[in-house]
Symmetry: C2
Subunit: 551 residues, 2 copies
């Protein structure tokens, strides 16, 4: 028998619409047409678009793409830095029903070729800076299907460049109709973006996002940040990385300002913050450390009260402390490509204000609680699929479930099933659940060091190393050891004009760590980092291995 509430109450276009971030730009353009949407460059070279102009440009681009046959379920790849074109493709591509594939701008030609083939890209938009490697990648493609190539010429780029496509972006755009009548996806489960994970082993996997998740992820970011209308957002986080944690869409929902930035360095950031009145930005720890460690004459120009969001395995306590000294409000988030970027947050509590700066930093360094519109983040024993006790002791795997989890991996049902097994997304990160139900990461599963049968968390060691005044950055990996199975190997990057000996570091560690946890090997290096600022442990592991066999 059907209940009275299920009879004659169907979905119609009057009372149901697909959730989609495309609605956000439509509303921004209608309600705040003359508000600034995008700024790129300084007072001399400024490119500025209002929401009305940006929306028109997006519709023009969508129209031009549609004219070239791009439609529902097609893939459009882009290789772009954080320029206005990169903001535009986030709306224009899905307006055609197609899927946006943002390519990491640090990738090599063969990896790019693999992605173009695997994603079956029908078009690619490339910034002049990356035209050479893209040209190589196009030549390496296995697919013989035609691919439309468009050159994005950014007047702010002064380096070496070439044109490899059939038209420039502006030429292509001008062929489109600014009144293009796009439609919301019929199904909010339709794909909106494709993001390849940078996977350290095997082929990259193509993470598929859908319209519903993109909209709800973006709104969750707004809610967590209490982000007001017309916020001014600085693009320090690459938009190719998890679609900039969904912020191109979130900023549209707030009719805010996208402050574009081709290059992330202390001078560019400080100038952008001061010139454009930046209120919010995101980034890996290295982005924030760059400001914290900027020369005083630069740092002194910074206003207080800027809102910063940081992710990364566990931001070092010293960086959190540095941000407090700057007077920046730091929100620590956690997530993966598979969760649209952040899907958990270390939500600060009132009572933490009474703690010492160091104690507070310890609290803030945790991965925290689920995002507003995420159903749940939990620490689960992957064998039993039961949550671990809230005792800060028992380790389990961090798992997510809810609307801010990917649709799955493209053309990879085995990996999709594995990742979503048992009704949870498996992050691969190991953690404990603390008594206040905040998650604290203990290690990426692959970074755990098992020494004499004891688990050693590389994160714990790194956090101790970061406390040494001479240490700029630290990374600890496991190396094989005949006696112990594995032992910790520490890579240290020193602050400029400082020195420290191995013996001094061991002495420092002894203050905080049990003897068996103290690294057995040290190397002083410049740490290799990924394009998103994450330290490349994979490379360090190889380096450690080579060094050990050379001994």
């Amino acid at each position: 028998m059907t209940g009275i509430y299920d009879q004659h109450l169907p979905k119609t276009t009057a009372n149901y619409a697909s959730l989609s971030p495309l609605s956000f730009i439509e509303r921004a353009a209608q309600v705040y047409p003359h508000r600034l949407a995008v700024v790129h460059g300084d007072a001399n070279t400024d490119i500025r678009y209002t929401w009305s102009e940006l929306y028109s440009r997006c519709r023009q681009l969508a129209s031009a793409l549609a004219t070239q046959g791009i439609s529902k379920g097609d893939t459009v790849a882009v290789m772009l830095p954080n320029t206005p074109a990169m903001v535009e493709v986030h709306f224009a591509v899905p307006m055609t029903g197609a899927v946006l594939n943002t390519l990491n701008t640090r990738l090599d030609a063969s990896t790019l070729a693999y992605m173009l083939d695997h994603g079956e890209a029908k078009a690619v938009l490339v910034d002049g800076e990356f035209a050479a490697v893209m040209q190589e990648a196009l030549a390496l493609r296995e697919s013989t299907s035609p691919i439309l190539v468009i050159d994005v010429v950014d007047p702010l780029y002064k380096g070496e460049s070439r044109l490899i496509g059939t038209q420039t972006y502006n030429e292509f755009l001008s062929g489109g109709d600014a009144n293009f009548a796009w439609e919301l996806p019929e199904d909010e489960w339709d794909a909106i973006a494709l993001n390849y994970t940078s996977g350290t082993t095997g082929r990259p996997k193509g993470v598929v996002y859908h319209h519903r998740g993109a909209a709800l992820g973006a709104i969750s970011n707004l809610l967590e940040w209490d982000m007001p209308k017309h916020a001014v957002y600085m693009w320090t986080l690459p938009m190719f990385h998890c679609n900039g944690w969904t912020f191109p869409w979130a900023i549209a929902a707030r009719a805010g300002v996208n402050v574009c930035l081709r290059r992330v360095d202390a001078v560019s950031m400080v100038n952008a913050i001061v010139d454009h009145g930046v209120t919010h930005y995101c980034g890996a720890p290295i982005v924030h450390s760059t400001l914290v460690n900027a020369p005083p004459e630069l740092r002194d120009r910074l206003p207080r009260g800027v809102n910063a969001m940081v992710a990364g395995a566990a931001p070092p306590a010293t960086m959190l402390e540095g941000m407090e000294h700057l007077g920046f409000n730091l929100t620590h988030v956690y997530g993966l490509t598979e969760t649209y970027g952040p899907a958990a947050v270390c939500a600060p509590q009132q009572e933490w204000a009474q703690l010492s700066l160091e104690q507070r930093a310890q609290k803030n360094a945790r991965q925290g609680v689920g995002y507003h519109l995420q159903r749940e983040v939990a620490v689960v024993d992957p064998a039993t699929m039961r949550p671990v006790p809230h005792d800060a002791q028992v380790m389990g795997e961090i798992m997510f479930r809810g609307n801010i989890v990917m649709k799955g991996y493209l053309k990879n049902p085995e990996e999709t099933e594995k990742a979503l097994a048992g009704g949870w997304f498996h992050s691969g990160d190991l953690a404990v659940m603390e008594p206040d139900r905040y998650v604290r990461i203990k290690d990426r599963s692959k970074d755990i060091i098992i020494s004499g049968g004891e688990n050693i968390s590389s994160i714990e060691l790194e956090d101790v190393l970061y406390r040494h005044p001479s240490v700029q950055a630290a990374a600890v990996v496991a190396v094989n050891d005949e006696r112990w199975g594995e032992t910790p190997f520490a890579f240290i990057e020193l602050k400029p004009e400082t020195t420290v000996t191995e013996a001094q570091l061991i002495e420092h560690c002894r203050q905080y760590l049990a003897g068996f946890k103290i690294p057995k090997h040290f190397a002083f290096v410049e740490l290799p980092k990924t394009s998103t600022g994450k330290i490349q442990k994979f490379a360090l592991r190889q380096q450690a291995k080579a060094q050990m066999s050379a001994v």
Copy 2:
């Protein structure tokens, strides 16, 4: 052929969860367990619950209801003022899968009996203040099905009372399990609430809300108001009215404070604002006018910067001006029971700050633009279903479409189809679209006056009458006229200790209105108002008719 993005990428519990406001309280209790959730009364009689306590109470109540056989698709009616119990039922009832039917506390026994019968309520919770009328209503029911009756005893209620049920609320609650394992609805399209429209003619219609719409309506309210975490919300708007415009759920999403209020008068409001640090409240124009016109010794205690939300056909410009003088930030919203309360907003524009107070009030008096997560509000010619031009001239009907539109009318497929015909919800309100694409209401369709073939907007006349310094409130209705077809009849409520003659009002009108629009008849009365503060034009129309035939 299925595209690559539609293959092997199914919904699972890992990557899909029903949208529901129930998630909001779950998260508030987990992340902010010790934050204040509800306060009722002053320092001497305070009832206070934290989010952890409130969540436990809701689960207890849900468990107690479930034990009594309440389950998916059942209706639970409540007749309660804005007390803690009223907040609790908003979560507890849907936790069982049942549907919450909040009854207007001003209704008579026979209307209540009709609603209990039509909604097939299996339980009713009633505050002592309304026990007498509910007892009468229960006796008038046609249904012979058993109904569970629970008495809510509010220690803050000092008036006449009686117990008519089997148990008190607290007794009932104590029988429930605070760890009740509720579940999200399997389908977010499942009903969450039933709200009867106060319909001036015919039987009241039962407007059905669903979980998805309730969640998205609540979030839209937060986004429009830039409402920060832990906002302090005063309950001046009845929760029985469109579920308090979804704010019981919205406040949970912000882990804010519900400041309960049994009675809305100047003293209670000022005390609550001052004692509890209220930051936000909603209400009909009369609620705000009460503060604007409060005696100076009371008004002077008010802090500046409180955020107020007002709905109502068109708030009089004088009230908007009064709020500006108070230093309150007024957001003017528009909607109907069928749109979960507000679904459009007169979003203020930066450049309005340069206008005179009066010009700004003119701008702010409009119904505005669609809500954040509403797809669209439009002014449509109901004959052609085409939008009217954006010329501020051509009238059409205000229509909505998107996720903030009801599921339909309960057991009334004809009215549902009519209301949602052509893929739009028909509001019945007439308006023009101004060049900036803001909707300006011209009249509730039934309040338009057609005089000598010319349409006269009663709203326009009322706005002029409100400008007279002696006028507290004004309402204009149409009366039949042999010569003109219809003519305007003005009902005037004067401010205390003021006088004005009909001739003086006519003279006043002549400054602003064309001659044919000036009301032909005046009556000085206390205006009859609905329980939500709306002036009852229906009653006035009858009164005008009686007065005309007596002439």
